[in-house]
């Protein structure tokens, strides 16, 4: 009898210790093909090397900022690592909802010993944000539009040219990117765009340019809309993220081509929520060191056509995991695609976003 109790107690304590050893990491990302690429390139190898870690995927990145704020107010942060775009990371950092990172201490150096902060270089746009990929917002167009008589757009301003390129367009339902493109095509030099946009006349000028295509435009709010609209033939040209267009063209084999002209670069990466316990923080930092090293970032590009954020990862980008095609020519950062690019100004938009959004929405509704 006594022996049996002892045995039971032993078994119970063994279960408890193994329970304490297993660590759950809740990692928040965008879902779909993007989460899948992270799962293959980061989560699976990490869990194979650390059997005591269990990664839980949460697909809430689209509402991450609002949810993190709510969790923080409630004093119960349940997320360990969150994938957000750079502008959201800046706001989370501003609000004190994300932890500041010491890049050289927390992240692995490049294989040749270059410290992480140098390897990421200019892409470190906030103290809280570890960049992962460079993506771009750019246009795709259908190649079978009869009314175009064999012409193909090769200039961003062809989007505004209804005479040579008639048909419906799709643009994102927000001022960011659209205002910049409108000004570029209204004759403003690339370096002056934000100076012009800061003035009331500049805003009116951009909206007037957008007015010329307003009734031929379908406005999207989710990245998946433009690929669907292009596939259905609802629009003939539309903006979206380059990775979505890649899967439309290469994986689904639709008659669509990329117009890389004036693509707008943006960053996506990790933030660590503020207010984690030391234990959880240690676990997540260990994962982070692994998931943002040179090889892991390069591996992700096997599954999705977004450019790795480390300079040292670029030469390691190989072939697509299933299609077996070279991924480098599909990267927004490939020299052939990046002949004319536009840089998104985070600081500027952080200041003027509310103001311009009000004007843009009033213009849309009017």
């Amino acid at each position: 009898m006594k022996f049996k109790t002892l045995l039971l107690a032993g078994a119970a304590s063994a279960m408890m210790t193994s329970g304490a050893m297993a660590i759950d990491l809740t990692i928040v990302s965008w879902g779909g093909a993007y989460s899948n690429s992270q799962n293959e390139a980061y989560h699976k190898p990490y869990m194979a090397a650390n059997p005591d870690v269990n990664i839980i995927n949460d697909e809430s990145s689209a509402e991450a900022v609002a949810k993190l704020r709510a969790m923080n107010e409630a004093g119960n942060v349940t997320w360990d690592l969150v994938d957000v775009v750079a502008s959201d990371a800046i706001r989370l950092c501003d609000e004190g909802l994300a932890q500041e990172i010491n890049f050289d201490e927390a992240l692995a150096p490049a294989p040749d010993g270059t410290p992480a902060s140098e390897d990421f270089g200019d892409l470190i746009v906030s103290d809280c944000f570890i960049p992962q990929i460079v993506y771009s917002t750019t246009f795709g167009y259908r190649t079978d539009v009869e009314a175009w008589n064999g012409r193909e757009p090769d200039d961003i301003c062809d989007v505004f040219d209804l005479e040579n390129f008639p048909g419906k367009r799709s643009l994102e339902k927000r001022p960011i990117n659209n205002m910049e493109w409108a000004l570029l095509c209204d004759g403003v030099a690339k370096d002056d765009v934000y100076d012009v946009l800061e003035t009331e006349e500049g805003v009116q000028r951009a909206l007037a340019k957008l007015d010329t295509i307003k009734d031929q435009t379908i406005w999207w709010s989710a990245g998946a809309e433009t690929p669907q609209l292009l596939a259905d033939g609802e629009v003939v040209i539309g903006s979206t993220y380059n990775g979505r267009l890649f899967s439309l063209i290469e994986e689904q084999d639709q008659p669509v081509k990329m117009l890389w002209d004036a693509q707008v670069f943006d960053l996506d990466g990790w933030i660590v929520p503020a207010g984690l316990s030391d234990e959880r923080k240690a676990a997540v930092m260990d994962y982070l060191k692994f998931a943002t090293d040179t090889q892991r970032l390069a591996d992700q590009a096997k599954y999705i056509s977004y450019g790795p954020a480390r300079k040292s990862s670029a030469p390691l980008v190989g072939k697509h995991a299933e299609l077996g095609i070279d991924m480098a020519p599909h990267m927004p950062t490939d020299p052939k695609n990046a002949t004319n690019t536009f840089l998104y100004n985070y600081e500027w938009w952080a200041d003027y976003r509310d103001d311009l959004d009000a004007k843009f929405q009033a213009w849309l509704a009017g």
């Binding site: 689209a62 509402e63 900022v65 609002a66 704020r69 706001r91 950092c93 501003d94 609000e95 004190g96 419906k168 339902k173 009116q204 379908i218 406005w219 709010s221 259905d232 033939g233 609802e234 600081e347 952080a350 200041d351 003027y352 976003r353 509310d354 103001d355 959004d357 009000a358 004007k359 929405q361 009033a362 213009w363 849309l364 509704a365």
Partner: protein, 431 residues
């Protein structure tokens, strides 16, 4: 009940024979009232857990969220000394505040930077004046390395020239009270300026228009639900049970299908390269170049939402119609009424409670609808709720979202009141 049969009530000679008492001498009225009170308390005790649950998990969070529409403690909490100094400063003077204000600002920001609250204040003030966000971020970066002696007017203006403008300080002063009307003014397309409250510039007005459109579209949707739902409910109530059940399943089937699936199905049907347009082109009713635009605009919102909300109209109508005896219409006809008169004067008035219930249900659901207008509404078919969602999840301006929510809530309550006055809420029947 401890009351007794009045016949056995003991009535003494010196007592008023009119007052009935119980056996223990307590007047019957009092005893009855006591018993009723006990009953009520018992009932209250029984529902207390539910009541508390609703209060804690429903009413309190809503009240808390709504309170954000006026709450503005952040300025005086982050910059307490500056706010105090600014109290004596008059923006009308046209001069920026003196050194005392800059010293106070330096001391406040020194603390704020350590606690990392200065950026939060920056994003709060940026809702009122563009550029505040980077002003505070930039100043915060420099303040850490600054000695108290360096906190001069010139040094601050050197960091950012905005510190040298009256407007920056005026905004700080204007938003220093802990309660602000700012969010409500924004929600009504107005703003607080040095001259007082005024309308925003024409090209920034959007919310009043959106409120009006939300109201108009919700009424349109309610009306079209009634138009389509009434005959269906009539048929359901009139048919024999077997075929009525089949029809009922047809009504309920879409009701049980995911909202997103139904909305996406409408996309497939209505888009320009969609099923309906393809069919119209095939029959030659419209030309290939003249395909109808039926989605990503108001038409799309009205069609999709009418379809989605239709069961909420049909079910209350059906349950009311089911209780109307067919003998009334028969009686009317036997007394010489035409089919129309028998329906309009005999049948229809009895269905009004069902119409009332259905209309209220559909209207209240419609006015707060979010996902369907977002997906099929394009630019002119979206509702105020889409802007509330935007401010909650994207712009993070929760104060403005709360103010818009309060206005929407009040508008619905007002309409409810008007409805009660005109139709009477007692005339509503869900079955």
């Amino acid at each position: 009940m401890n009351t007794q049969n009045p016949a056995s009530t003991d009535t003494g000679p010196d007592e008023n024979p009119q007052v009935l008492t119980t056996r223990d001498g307590i007047p019957l009225k009092v005893s009855l009232a006591r018993a009723l009170r006990r009953e009520k308390l018992r009932a209250l005790a029984l529902i207390a857990p539910l009541l508390l649950f609703v209060l804690i998990t429903f009413a309190a969070p809503i009240a808390d969220m709504l309170f954000r529409s006026v709450e503005n403690g952040i300025v005086s909490e982050t910059l307490p000394k500056t706010v105090e100094v600014l109290a004596t400063w008059d923006p009308e003077s046209g001069e920026i505040p003196d050194q005392a204000a800059f010293t106070a600002l330096y001391e406040d920001l020194k603390v704020a930077v350590e606690e990392k609250t200065h950026t939060r204040l920056g994003s709060r003030l940026n809702y009122e004046a563009s550029g505040m966000s980077s002003l505070f971020r930039k100043t915060g970066r420099r303040i850490g390395r600054m000695e108290p002696a360096e906190a001069t007017v010139e040094r601050f203006i050197d960091i950012d020239k905005d510190w040298g403008t009256v407007e920056t300080w005026a905004v700080l002063k204007r938003y220093s009270p802990t309660i602000t009307p700012g969010y409500f003014l924004n929600a009504a397309d107005m703003q607080l300026t040095a001259e007082g409250v005024e309308m925003k510039p024409e090209n920034e007005r959007i919310y009043l228009y959106l409120f009006w459109r939300t109201l108009f579209l919700s009424l349109t949707i309610t009306f079209s639900c009634l138009l389509l739902g009434y005959p269906v409910a009539f048929l359901l109530a009139a048919l024999p049970a077997r075929s009525a059940n089949l029809l009922m399943i047809l009504v309920l089937l879409p009701f049980w299908t995911s909202l997103l699936v139904r909305t996406s199905a409408w996309k497939v049907l209505l888009q320009q390269q969609g099923v309906i347009n393809d069919f119209l082109v095939w029959t030659g009713l419209v030309s290939d170049a003249g395909r109808l635009v039926m989605i990503n605009n108001q038409t799309g919102t009205i069609i999709a939402m009418t379809h989605i909300l239709l069961p909420f109209m049909i079910l209350p109508l059906y349950s009311v119609m089911k209780t109307i005896s067919p003998s009334y219409v028969r009686a009317a006809k036997s007394l010489g009424a035409t089919d129309w008169t028998a329906f309009w004067r005999g049948y229809f008035p009895q269905t009004v409670p069902g119409i009332g219930a259905g209309a209220i249900l559909v209207f209240i659901l419609a006015i707060g609808y979010y996902i369907t207008p977002e997906l099929v509404g394009g630019t002119d078919g979206i509702f105020i709720s889409n802007r509330i969602a935007y401010h909650i999840s994207t712009s993070l301006n929760w104060g403005l979202a709360a103010a818009l929510g309060v206005i929407l809530l009040l508008a619905v309550m007002l309409l409810f009141y008007v409805y009660d006055k005109i139709v009477g809420i007692d005339n509503v029947k869900l079955g």
